[in-house]
């Protein structure tokens, strides 16, 4: 048989590729559930690690039962739209740990696409946003965790930012990426970088937050970028800024309630009364 003929070559390559595609789809279908579960567990552990960063007594490592810890610390989880209105609840797994619901990175990507369209002028989409908010009770403090997502150098980068009860101060942050350059961009997932977010605040101006070159210890609204990873660093800055912009209406209501509670607590103290006023 002539294995060098044109027809033979075309048929051979077609059959081979179809066969390989079939095998791969079958395997992908078979392993999908298990892989999704791993990804979900990782997302939960990231959200949780951002939230507990200020509490040094909690360590999250491979032996931690992440689901249990998450269910015990979380007090509320829901989605808000771009006007700060609560639109949908998230399952917190209080009854069954396997029901815990977290937005995956592909959910974050959908929101990010909407955010970009809104930023380009399509303001009507603001009502259709579903931005996740997780509220944790960490050692008596109310910590809110909000995500961010954007395009890095090679693939998506995303992160979770813990916001203190005042709705402005960053209490902790954690970042991850699909495939940033090992040793350079991948450093966003390491402590020297994410640790520098603690104590920073979202600006009330147009630019909520940025990642800039040079020492930023004097600037409350920015952190120092990573040398050799300019594009990844800027991607983090841009994505935090974009997401924080549309979380602002929600965070403002949080801040207002916080100030209200602080004022009434002060009043109550003056009057010598006890009060059960809760934020929100």
């Amino acid at each position: 048989m002539n294995t060098n003929g044109n027809l033979y070559t075309v048929i051979y390559s077609t059959v081979l590729v179809v066969l390989v595609a079939a095998i791969l789809s079958f395997v992908a279908m078979f392993l999908q559930d298990k892989q999704n579960e791993n990804v979900k567990l990782e997302t939960i552990s990231k959200v949780l690690s951002a939230a507990v960063q200020s509490d040094k007594s909690i360590k999250i490592d491979e032996t931690t039962n992440v689901l249990e810890l998450y269910a015990s610390k979380i007090t509320d989880a829901f989605y808000v739209d771009g006007n700060g209105k609560r639109v949908k609840d998230m399952n917190m797994g209080k009854e069954n740990l396997n029901d815990i619901e977290v937005p995956t990175t592909s959910d974050l990507k959908k929101q990010n696409d909407l955010l970009k369209k809104i930023a380009d002028g399509d303001k009507e989409l603001t009502d259709r946003l579903e931005l996740p908010v997780f509220i944790f009770d960490i050692a008596g403090n109310e910590i809110r965790v909000i995500p961010c997502y954007g395009a890095g150098l090679w693939g998506p980068v995303w992160g979770y930012i813990a916001v203190a009860a005042d709705g402005r101060t960053i209490d902790g942050a954690i970042f991850d990426h699909k495939g940033e350059t090992p040793g350079l961009g991948s450093k966003i997932a390491e402590e020297p970088f994410y640790g520098s977010f603690k104590g920073k605040t979202f600006s009330s101006g147009d630019v909520k937050f940025s990642v800039l070159k040079g020492d930023q210890s004097g600037n409350p609204n920015a952190v120092d970028a990573i040398s050799g990873a300019t594009i990844t660093s800027q991607a983090i800055g841009r994505s935090i800024n974009l997401w924080a912009t549309y979380y602002t209406p929600y965070l403002q209501t949080v801040a207002a309630a916080f100030n209200q509670a602080a004022v009434s607590a002060a009043d109550a103290n003056e009057a010598g009364e006890t009060t059960n006023n809760e934020e929100e």
Binding site: S13, K34, P182
Partner: protein, 208 residues
């Protein structure tokens, strides 16, 4: 025409005398990148072993039907299939290791050992010897990876498999982990030392 296959040579040659990393100097990139920790190195070594073995086997099964003009493409498709399979299985059952190895599992496809063995051996030999040749070359690669990772994890982090080996008392006495060993250049130097050691034992490898 029947050729007698020297099984012992097929199996042992790639591990010592014809080691793909230290003698043929193939697959250097990944052996520098994934040898910071022993666990990752072992998983990477096994992954490459499976990929080289299976791809050699499959290509050898197909060797008489492959159109010569698209030979390399066909080999690439087979290797890519194996690499994706390994990657998917790692993602499902060894998620943390798969994250640590990141892009390097996918990059097995560019590992010269895989294509090199297919071109040099599997295309001209029966499936079973090809399978063994692939496995043996993968094992030769894995062996070097494990040796380098052992040295790097022990001296760089003071641990093996993440368990602390160097006693705490030594640290208190002033011992410090060697940060340089963690960086890729040191992996290259360790690899060079291994090549040196091997060539001083096997004199016939030395260039005149």
């Amino acid at each position: 025409m029947k050729e007698k296959i020297n099984w012992k040579e097929v199996l042992l040659q790639p591990i010592f005398k014809g080691n793909p990393v230290t003698v043929l100097v193939l697959g250097i990139c990944s052996s520098l990148a994934v040898t910071v920790q022993l666990e990752g190195a072992i998983v990477m070594g096994i992954s490459v072993l499976i990929v080289t073995g299976l791809s050699s086997f499959v290509v050898s099964l197909m060797r008489n039907s492959i159109p010569n003009r698209i030979r390399i493409i066909v080999q690439l498709v087979v290797v890519a299939l194996m690499v994706i399979l390994v990657d998917q299985v790692l993602k499902a059952y060894m998620y943390s290791v798969s994250k640590a190895l990141s892009v390097y599992v996918g990059l097995i496809i560019t590992n010269c050992i895989v294509m090199g063995r297919i071109e040099a051996y599997a295309l001209g030999n029966k499936p079973i010897p090809s399978l063994l040749d692939g496995l043996a070359n993968g094992a030769g690669y894995a062996l070097i990876l494990i040796v380098v990772a052992f040295i790097r994890e022990l001296l760089g982090s003071g641990t093996l498999f993440g368990v602390q080996i160097i006693p705490q008392a030594l640290y208190e006495a002033g011992y410090v982990n060697n940060g340089l060993i963690i960086l890729p250049p040191m992996a290259l130097i360790i690899l060079g030392l291994i090549v040196w050691a091997q060539r001083s034992i096997q004199k016939d490898l030395q260039e005149k």
